[in-house]
Amino acid sequence: MKIKWVILTLIIAITTVLTGCEPLKVLNPKGPQAETTADVIWISIMTMAVVVITVIALYIFYVIKASRRPDDYEPPYIKSNPIVESLIVGVPVLIIIFLTVVTVKSLYVVEAPPEIYENQEPLVIYASSSNWKWHFSYPEEDIETVNYLFIPTNRPIKFKLYSYGPISSFWIPQLGGQKYAMVHATTTLHLAADVPGEYMGRNANFTGKGFAEQTFNVKAMPPEEYEKWVEEVKATAEPLTKKKFDELLEPGHLGQLTFTGNHLGFSPPPMSHGEMSSDTEETDSGLSMQPHESKDKSGNESD
């Protein structure tokens, strides 16, 4: 009967660690979207803890009873009881309904711009992956960075994600969940940071040899500081040319780079994924997916 003690100790150990002094990144949100998912995760952990404890308690009780039968005990033949059967279906149904409601509500929250910053114009950043780097284009500011991301706090950020190679997954655990960056469709991810600080960002989807190091640093800072940084970049950084950008796309690792201008003009992102999100401007483009090449010809110059 050692096993149940092992399991119980483990469950207790796990909960202690989960609630422990150094919070895990996903459960230590620094923005409204990550806060929503962390809440959902806690609700699910609590609900599931009830389920697990119930099952394991019943299990321990029955196993102990069934292992201490007298020698002459003859286990009876038992037909199933319709009341018991409907109970073991009914209770899970209720739990599933509850969790579905939680899921659907939170899905619409995290797929939309953060509610608390609703009245603010979102900062649009195009984040694209190539083996094994991240490129961040700021069309509004007309600057571009590689492998690092500066964002203002208390302002919604609208990421437009796409890839120049294998499917990648854009992830800043403390600001919110992941979304894929792919070749044929631009996806949209809404994030925001409440608290200034440095956060880990990475590609979470396997992309080959250099995948482990495909990370980027995120620095959230007050808006004034952010403006200052933008001005500084514009004053000091080199302009990004098509030739330079093609060099950057070559497979390999690069440090952090900064440019003025951006690649959106000469190497435009694919069309948007036809999402059913609240983003109305997206829906008219439908599920059209176009390769980069044909876009190049159509000449979508904005520079």
């Binding site: 998912t37 099952v55 069934a66 599933i96 990475r202």
Partner: protein, 649 residues
Amino acid sequence: MDFFNRFAIPNPTPTIYASMVAIALTVIAVIIGLTYFKKWGYLFREWLTTVDHKRIGIMYLISALLMLFRGGVDAIMMRAQTAVPENTFLNAAEYNEVFTTHGVVMIFFMAMAFIIALMNFVVPLQIGARDVAFPRLNLLSFWLYFVGAMLFNLSFVLGGSPNAGWTSYFPLAGTQFSESVGTNYYMWALQISGLGTLMTGINFIVTILKMRAPGMTLMKMPMFTWSALVTNIIIVFAFPVLTVTLLMGTFDRQFGTNFFTMTNGGDDMLWANLFWVWGHPEVYILILPAFGIYSEVIPTFTQRNLYGYKSMVLSMVIISLLSFMVWVHHFFTMGQGALTNSIFSFTTMLIAIPTGMKIFNWLLTIRKGKIRFTVPMLYSLGFIPLFTIGGVTGVMLAMASADYQYHNTMFLVAHFHNVIIPGVVFAMLAGLTYWWPKMFGFMLNEKIGKWAFWFISIGFCLAFFPMYISGLDGQARRMYTYSAETGFGVWNMISFIGAGMMAIGFIIIVYNIYYSIRYSPRNVGDDPWNARSLEWATHNPVPEYNFAVTPQVNSSEALWDAKKNGHKLFKGELKEIHMPNNSGLPVIMAVLFFVFGFSFVFSIWPGVILSGVGIFSSMAYQSYMKDRGKHISVEEIKETEAKFGGGKK
């Protein structure tokens, strides 16, 4: 020479060269051994060409165990590499090959083979049949599986292993990012063994529907047979999707088509969708037979009937339907939006309901029972709480908004190992120990078996529970290394220790097999476990024809009724038994398929064309071949029955 350059390994290391030498030496040792002991004829006549479902089952079993160790070594290497931050035991290229082959070998060549091994051995016995419906096709299925497995393992020393993950997502798996022939091996090894699996599916559906003993209606089938029926129906619906998907992948890589490419209208999202349309049902192809095994073991060792037979059947049928409606949950993060994800979250969570029904039914079976703590029962008792934990984390992953944070992390890795190991692997080990006397006529040592159980279960907890935590702390899966400041080190070290304990557990199992072959008593009788279903009504080991007289069945626990309620299983006189003849054709086809697959991997077109013609000619020859089988006379049956100790009259 240019021609031979293609066989070179892209990332050669001393380890790989050492393995080449080791493989060559093993092959030479086996050939010399077989020649020295003059066993070639025996091996060919009695095993390689056999159509006996029991022997085919045992061949599957041996192959599955070999693959378990291949995949297990991969696992240990991965855990060793990530045990400490910035480790240099493996480099990125090696690590990518190791985790790819670990996944493919464990799912396709270990778990699939293991459940098919047990289905092959047990199902015909449980339904009182003499063999499967298409015995020769069954042998061909085995050979296709075996050829696929060997072809896949060959990639290690010839041309390079696949390295795009077991899911092999395009465009990563396309020629632009995976230049070596590794992914070609993936396509053809899975293609060939997948065809074998599809044939097994058809074979078992027909066997179960058409060859049950008199009196055994569908609702009187033992639960393992029910699970086999449902599983094979899923196989027949799911595997054609894999066949087509792999073919599209092959065309993209070798003939320049653009299904999944980055240019010319290809779609990188298509592979992921098609792969998981097959891939999710595949998960249930593995777990349903496992549920079937627990449903046999738990009643046997609690010594009472399975609680809620009808709801057990119903829940499996519901799971099989739902399994085709949830594939999007493997990529909630693809950007399909809140509505689509809401629907798939809901369908995914629905699976918890039939699965919960099963868990509670097993608990209620234990409730009024009287437990005997044997090794198969220990695995079943370990399964219930551990699988429940794995199941509820599955529900957590099903909640799409939260999945955005779990996706692609160690949390996910923890979850699926938490359902596959206590679910499928424990069931396989329970089934192996449970049916071992049926296969070989002696029992595995219980004491050593219990040691193995404790090592594997505790090792499992140590190896996988920390991954839940490191996943929530932001450790993505498939990373060959991480820096010390991430703080993942401690969790990965615990994982490595756990993996080591599991390895010791499996070594103990091997030792147990050796020990039991040498020392276990041989006179265990026909029914050593005091079991309930039909397979225990014949001898140990089972004679070629299974039952001298076809049994009569009146319930799902025919043997128990015979023992306790005076039901008469065997009525009537001995009659001549009609059995199928052995066939060498599947062996020839195996060789042809191997040449075909190998040539295709390396684009050696003459080899492809010649072996392709050979395959179709064999099929044509097979179609026109007249083989009426053989008859076992009453005398022979009497003789055999006497040899087995009188037997049933």
